[in-house]
């Protein structure tokens, strides 16, 4: 429902109707819209984590030995709206920003989510620096902030203009960006 109607269109009554439950039953578990929204974002977080977990033992072994720029590239590709599921998930995240910037609790939860994501990316960037794939003269945290900025902004543009940002162009732009990250020295 969030993907289709946005946060502005979400009501406890509509969710209860969709579930075939009474509003009273729903509010027993989620006393207000904010609680429901926080739960929806947690579910989305867990789904994303599950999607990124290797499906087989062989894939686990491969993931354990993979290093550097290709791993960073895969992590950024995972974020982009390259298919319908990716577009729906991203549409919910982008839609959550209005409420998240208004509600101090949600603001901090979101800020912490993005902080964690930047820390994970900074580890991948540091690894790529060790391998000589990214310039060593800039803090890995800055490289991570550059990567997260680029990726989030591409998500927004692709959601508004999917015809101009088909999957292959998103991938090509990501590769352009990473080439710049690898080459760029101030």
């Amino acid at each position: 429902m969030l993907a289709a109607r946005g946060f502005g269109g979400l009501t406890l009554r509509a969710v209860a109707a969709e579930l075939g439950a009474s509003t009273g039953l729903l509010t027993h578990y989620f006393p207000h819209k904010r609680a429901l929204v926080a739960h929806a974002l947690d579910v989305l977080d867990r789904q994303a984590a599950d999607r990124h977990r290797p499906a087989t033992e062989a894939a686990t072994a491969e993931a354990a030995t993979a290093r550097g720029l290709p791993v960073l590239r895969a992590a950024l590709l995972d974020i982009l709206p390259l298919d319908g599921e990716g577009a729906a998930g991203n549409r919910i995240w982008v839609g959550s920003w209005d409420a998240a910037l208004t509600d101090p609790g949600l603001t901090e939860e979101h800020a912490e989510r993005y902080r964690r994501a930047r820390r994970r990316m900074a580890e991948l960037c540091a690894d790529a620096q060790e391998l000589g794939e990214l310039p060593a003269d800039r803090p890995a945290a800055d490289l991570a902030a550059l990567a997260q900025s680029f990726t989030l902004g591409l998500v927004v543009q692709a959601l508004f203009a999917p015809a101009e940002f088909p999957p292959e162009r998103q991938r090509a732009l990501l590769d352009d960006f990473l080439a710049g990250l690898a080459a760029g020295e101030r």
Copy 2:
């Protein structure tokens, strides 16, 4: 009100109260919330255009002769939330994305806004390519899409974590990004 309460918190009644007017008078001009929101975004567009207009004849002459990468850099700096006004304006834009991704009319208006912005940036990129400041082997439209992606994503991160993205870090990250754009070849 949009900057403080977000789109989710905006009601015609609250706006009327803020104006000291009746809801009836307000709905005479804006029959529904969507019309009010569209008007607010147009006002924001015009304010941004006014801010970028050179204030003096000397500034006009200077702007007319300025070219290439410094002009692109200035255009991107103009977008970033480097002060309170920039943060409030950006907070409204980011907040508008939830409604804009739900309402087909608003989606198209937003898509067209970003398309226009990319076209303007592509002209600046093409100029920088002519001057040899940006690599000539990539379409200016791609360089513009990279620049807009990076800038929009940095806006979002800076809104959620202003302490981690003070103005001087935003500027430094933009310069890192532009250095990569200038250096990057696939």
